[in-house]
Symmetry: C2
Subunit: 346 residues, 2 copies
DNA sequence: CTGTTAGCGCTTTCAC
DNA sequence: GTGAAAGCGCTAACAG
């Protein structure tokens, strides 16, 4: 009598036991044949492979995770999905983790430390083998959670040495937002500008650090005027950049240079200038931040700061993988730097 | 003698059993107190909550998933992380799933059906409660896998009725790429253009359908010239748009209108025109596709097609949730349409 | 309302 | 090289 496929599982899927029966071996041998082929005889391996294919066997990673206490997932917390900055980081993470069999699992925090804490808490329930967070500004409870983890944690986009609080000797991968802002400020000063303004939105800690750096550079040059700072909490966009520039110009017609904390704002500013016939850089110099896709293609091409977003993702994942594998002797903090891209708007 | 926290778990974390002991109840009661509070006495609930908090208990979703056969995850397969089109869809999915406790788990397919099949296979191992895919162009083996699933599947960005192959009465959410392309073609014709060209990159099935629609419109008007089609496999970018337009203009100086299958290409084309002093729309009309962030802010503002990417994500997730909850009586195919955004480049 | 029993599907450990 | 037993941490199903 022909053997029927015995689908024992509740889910209707074949289990290892099913494959075992079909192959005439024990479940344990199936497990070995699939995971450590070298630990099993050539012949058995073939039989198991055949049975496995015939039954359309898909091993349950859930069960494996429970048994081994390794989920093969990595929790990745980012502030927003619609900000391409974090998507670039995520892409780097995913490309690096994936070949090693690890699955990034995304959590979106909406730029709010409390939400980050909540999301982290729920994600920890699925027992990730590692955690990658954005920034170092977490709630005390979040730090507690992280401290209690048996798995490694990497913080991105910032560096421990630039952080005011206690970072517990955390693993960090990023660059100095402060230095980057400072570089822009100095560049504008060196171009001979005297009335240098600042427009910023989405005031997360990293944006603030950039602004701090810029301010410091102006103070050093004796050129800082607080009235020329326009900082709003709204999320950045092309439209917002145009609008804020209009506002600033109305109040300070003598403005001759401007740092906008993100390229989309800068693009909006350039658009406003084009419409109003304001010469760039003749009358107004404009600098952005991040070197997003279109920055080299604005008219005129935008001076901005290129940030190593993708590389940060790659490096964060590498550090995490190393830590997961017990390599604790690597660097604890990786500074990937930034590059001031001087183009034609300054 | 003071009771020590008995951390029985291998992972060093407290288990339900630990909490149970600490609260003086059974593990089952802890489970109920946490998941169905109404099924438990006020007093016990409080005791469990207290013990749970004191031990820093984080329930293992893995174990729960294994026991209930519900992982509370949804596999989401997209071609690319760096194409904002899919990120917008993803954001819609994530926002909709998240409040219901479902975790989207992303897989990246690189626009390759074979890779999609591979990624899907590995993801199925973690027993998702649903699957959301991009497009309807899957390998036969992928269709087999999907058919065999006990969980619902939703296909996005396309509509079953527009698909050439057999779709198994699949759930689909999207819009007609063909009609959208057709609308652009007709619009250009109606603007009185005679030498209407096409530039396309990233030739996935959806791009091809858009091109087909455009071509159809020109054929209908008796204006189609195959020589004016420039289709390349490269992924789209601003730089590519500029380059391809230059090439096309060299070969066909009489070109008077152009459809570019993605806004970044169109932006590059506009840039090239600005640099070469080609009047838009005077000498050359330009239309893009997708209405990405900057499209309204190019100079002049770009005519393009607004696609409901976010809404597609939201609706796909809704349909999936309904199906997971056994509501099979809703629509099987949702057409979210598109809007031709006529601005100043045509 | 609460507890007991059994088991999800896999892997660890130890025999053989 | 292979198998049997036990258990990962939770919950379904039943009993009380």
């Amino acid at each position: 009598m022909p053997t029927r496929k015995p689908r024992s599982s509740r889910t209707g899927r074949a289990t290892m036991a099913d494959v075992a029966t079909a192959a005439g071996v024990s479940a344990m041998t199936v497990s070995r044949a699939l995971n450590r082929p070298d630990k099993v005889s050539e012949e058995v391996r073939a039989r198991v492979a055949e049975a496995s294919r015939r039954l359309g066997f898909v091993p349950s990673r859930l069960a494996a995770a429970l048994a081994t206490a390794r989920s093969m997932t990595v929790t990745v917390l980012i502030p927003s999905l619609t900000n391409s900055v974090f998507i670039d980081v995520l892409a780097g993470i995913q490309e690096t983790l994936s070949p090693h069999g690890y699955q990034p699992v995304i959590g979106v925090t909406g730029y709010a430390p409390e939400e980050e804490e909540r999301v982290l808490r729920t994600q920890l329930a699925s027992g990730p083998d590692g955690v990658i967070l954005t920034g170092l500004d977490h709630t005390p409870a979040t730090w507690d959670l992280l401290r209690g983890l048996p798995t490694p944690v990497v913080h991105t986009m910032d560096l421990a040495r630039n952080f005011a609080g206690d970072t517990d000797d955390a693993l960090t991968v990023g660059f100095s937002q402060f230095d980057a802002g400072h570089a822009v400020g100095r560049h504008l000063v060196e171009r001979g500008r005297r009335r240098i303004g600042l427009i910023a939105g989405q005031l997360d800690p990293r944006t603030r650090q950039r602004c701090d750096g810029w301010r410091q550079a102006l103070v050093e040059a004796g050129l800082h005027d607080p009235a020329l700072e326009l900082m709003v909490p709204d999320s950045t966009s092309v439209a917002l950049g145009a609008e804020l520039l209009e506002r600033m110009l109305a109040a300070h017609p003598d403005l001759d240079a401007l740092f906008l904390c993100n390229d989309d704002l800068a693009q909006g500013a350039l658009f406003h200038c084009a419409r109003r016939g304001i010469a760039v850089p003749g009358r107004l110099a404009v600098a952005g931040f991040n070197d997003l896709g279109g920055a080299a293609w604005t008219i005129p091409p935008l001076t901005t700061v290129a940030t190593p977003r993708h590389a940060i993702g790659v490096e964060a994942a590498r550090l995490l993988l190393a830590a997961i594998n017990g390599n604790d002797n690597g660097p604890r903090s990786v500074d990937l730097g930034f590059r001031l891209m001087v183009r034609e708007t300054t």
